[in-house]
């Protein structure tokens, strides 16, 4: 019963939605009156993360690496510079980006065990599950089990490397290029690269799965 009680305690800090909305309004209005916050700048920041920055950027980076071996080398050597090279600014936290290559024998998974560090510049903001205590604990303790929950089965002989994001370093996984994609354009390839495949909880989509959304033409969906 004690455990139950504790699990319950867990929630005691949550405030009702209406109270918290008001509290954040109060906070913003005080900061505005002190001249520390400009509401329009906040609108722009929100717009950036809701509409402009997201996994489509990471997907372009991955597709370029799959198509251009020299670029891939540069990306693995210095992720921050190689992403910059494509015209994408690094995340606002000015962080060092390290790109981890998946191979048939090595699969990389990224977590932030302490909070929610994430490569904002290439993937946008993290999904709720990435920030959950369950993922933060279990990605380290039971990565195979976690991958299975994402529908990702790895052979027993594949080594799993779990990387913990930090203040200094953010990671982006370079998933394996799926078979049967030799003739695809970079743009089409980008359509196979999902957010989850760049966190390392999934593989890139196979061209067949990618084409499902466009019945009839047999080509991969490439709206990214």
């Amino acid at each position: 019963m004690a455990a139950n009680h504790q699990a319950h305690e867990h929630h005691r800090h949550d405030e009702p939605e209406s109270d918290i909305t008001l509290r954040v309004k109060a906070l913003e209005s005080i900061l505005v009156s002190k001249g520390l916050v400009d509401p329009q700048a906040l609108d722009m920041l929100i717009d950036t993360y809701e509409h402009r920055v997201g996994p489509h950027i990471g997907a372009k980076v991955v597709a370029r690496a799959w198509s251009d071996p020299a670029y891939k080398r540069r990306l693995l050597e210095d992720g921050t510079a190689a992403v910059n090279e494509l015209g994408f600014p690094p995340g606002p936290e000015g962080i060092n980006l390290i790109v981890l290559e998946n191979t048939p024998k090595v699969h990389n998974v990224v977590v932030c065990t302490l909070c929610s560090c994430y490569p904002w510049g290439t993937l946008g903001l993290p999904p709720v599950w990435y920030k959950s205590p369950a993922y933060r604990a279990r990605a380290v303790g039971d990565p195979r089990g976690v991958l299975r929950e994402f529908g990702t089965e790895l052979d027993d002989d594949v080594e799993i490397r779990v990387w913990d994001s930090s203040a200094e370093v953010r990671y982006l996984v370079l998933p394996e290029r799926p078979p049967g994609t030799e003739r695809m354009t970079e743009e089409e390839l980008a359509g196979l690269v999902t957010r989850d495949s760049m966190i390392g909880v999934a593989k890139a989509k196979s061209p067949k799965a990618g084409a499902r959304k466009r019945p009839g033409n047999g080509r991969a969906e490439h709206r990214v």
């Binding site: 455990a3 504790q6 699990a7 305690e9 867990h10 929630h11 005691r12 800090h13 949550d14 405030e15 939605e17 918290i20 909305t21 008001l22 509290r23 954040v24 309004k25 109060a26 906070l27 913003e28 209005s29 005080i30 900061l31 002190k34 520390l36 916050v37 700048a41 906040l42 609108d43 920041l45 929100i46 993360y49 809701e50 606002p92 936290e93 065990t113 302490l114 909070c115 929610s116 560090c117 946008g124 903001l125 709720v128 599950w129 920030k131 959950s132 205590p133 369950a134 993922y135 933060r136 604990a137 279990r138 380290v140 303790g141 039971d142 976690v146 929950e149 994402f150 203040a167 909880v201």
Partner: protein, 124 residues
Amino acid sequence: MPSERPEDRKIPVRPEEDEPVFRTPWEARVFSIAVHLSRHGLFTWEEFRQRLIAEIARPDASEDYYQNWLRALEGLLDDKGTLIAEEIDRELAELKANPPAPQRHSHQPDKPLRVFPSSRSERN
């Protein structure tokens, strides 16, 4: 160190299809306030991150990530002397006494929003 709460080890990770970037407008506001203030040098991102880590590690941390984010931000602003908790409480009391006008969204109550005429011919 990863979270030490044993119950966290049993909970499945539940991915969600097409999750919105922010679930509510207040999440977006509190996110952007922290980023904005750190960009303008009120605190470093690392200072904020350390506060956030501490909030998340509390045994009574919220399951709602941005509630922890808000508490981290308030705590840091308090430390910096930028804003004291009483200021928020005072402002909050004022907002509660004079709630902000609802978003302008007026209808003519006697008219439906939109009418889709029947495709069948009128009976009467």
